[in-house]
Assembly symmetry: C2
Homo-oligomer: 176 residues x 2
């Protein structure tokens, strides 16, 4: 009889939250489907961010916010104002400003006030910044393909379309 | 002739990146579909996080990491070790430890060493923590429903299934 009990207990354990612990672990059955969707979305993006963060640290001794900062600048050779950069990075101006100071010190980024508006600062990549970012960007692309490249192309398209809907819905919502 | 030129220029401007600036703004046409998917996923979760962050600050003068910390504990009345909590929050032990210290100071969380292993700390909500979290959780649920509740239920299900695939794929990938 005892031999039959053990598998039952193990089944119960593995049926609990899931094999891994993540944001979804806090869900309870009765949670609204919007909450379930949000915590799954957050789990996916946190998992990918954590893997990219670890790889960037191991291979380039750098951080994800620094990589994202350089990535936005690389796209715009003429440079961006700090305000534009902050919007694109979806973080506050204070965070962006601290990063800029570090990257200027390391010679990867050039920051200067606009001649006609001394309170507006413009940042752009230096040549050293461009070279260093190109190395990181190539690896970053390989990593993202390692993480997501095995999804079926059909599924990727469906997912992109659904996420575009999420984006539009969230952008239009005003929290009261 | 000049009147015909202006609409063309405006069309070109509004066709560029998109009305909003976000992580997807750094995409170029040739980027791999995995990169496009990743930046769209990141944009969606950052948008939702930013809206929730602002609402939590405005209404409760608190932060998202603090809310997430309390949310994980609320789920487990007997408490969690700091290590378990760190896994569930998907952040490093150092971050969790700093948050715990603040929350203990405010009387929301109780932290004590395990009697049989003095190096392992266990945290759980105090009664004050439970009360305070209940207020925040109710509003948080309303906010998430305001943000995502207008999506069709079919779409929510399809999206959840696709994100479950992403989660499984990413969990199994080892970056080299």
């Amino acid at each position: 009889m005892l031999t039959e009990i053990k598998p039952l207990i193990m089944a119960k354990q593995s049926a609990s939250p899931s094999a891994a612990f993540d944001h979804e672990t806090r869900l309870v059955e009765q949670d609204h489907h919007s909450i379930k969707l949000w915590l799954r979305l957050l789990t996916c993006s946190s998992m990918i961010e954590n893997k990219l963060r670890t790889a960037l640290r191991n291979e380039f001794d750098t951080t994800l916010p620094r990589f994202d900062f350089l990535a936005q600048l690389q796209r715009v050779p003429e440079g961006l104002t700090m305000g534009e950069l902050s919007k694109r990075l979806m973080v506050s101006g204070g965070n962006v400003s601290g990063l800029a100071t570090q990257l200027v010190k390391e010679g990867l980024v050039d920051r200067r006030a606009l001649p006609d508006d001394r309170r507006t600062y413009m940042v752009k990549l230096t040549q050293k910044g461009e070279r260093q970012f190109a190395l990181m960007a190539a690896r970053h692309e390989e990593w993202v393909i390692e993480l997501l490249g095995s999804l079926e192309l059909d599924d990727v398209e469906r997912l992109s379309d659904l996420l575009a809907q999420v984006k539009a819905t969230v952008a239009g919502a005003e929290l009261k």
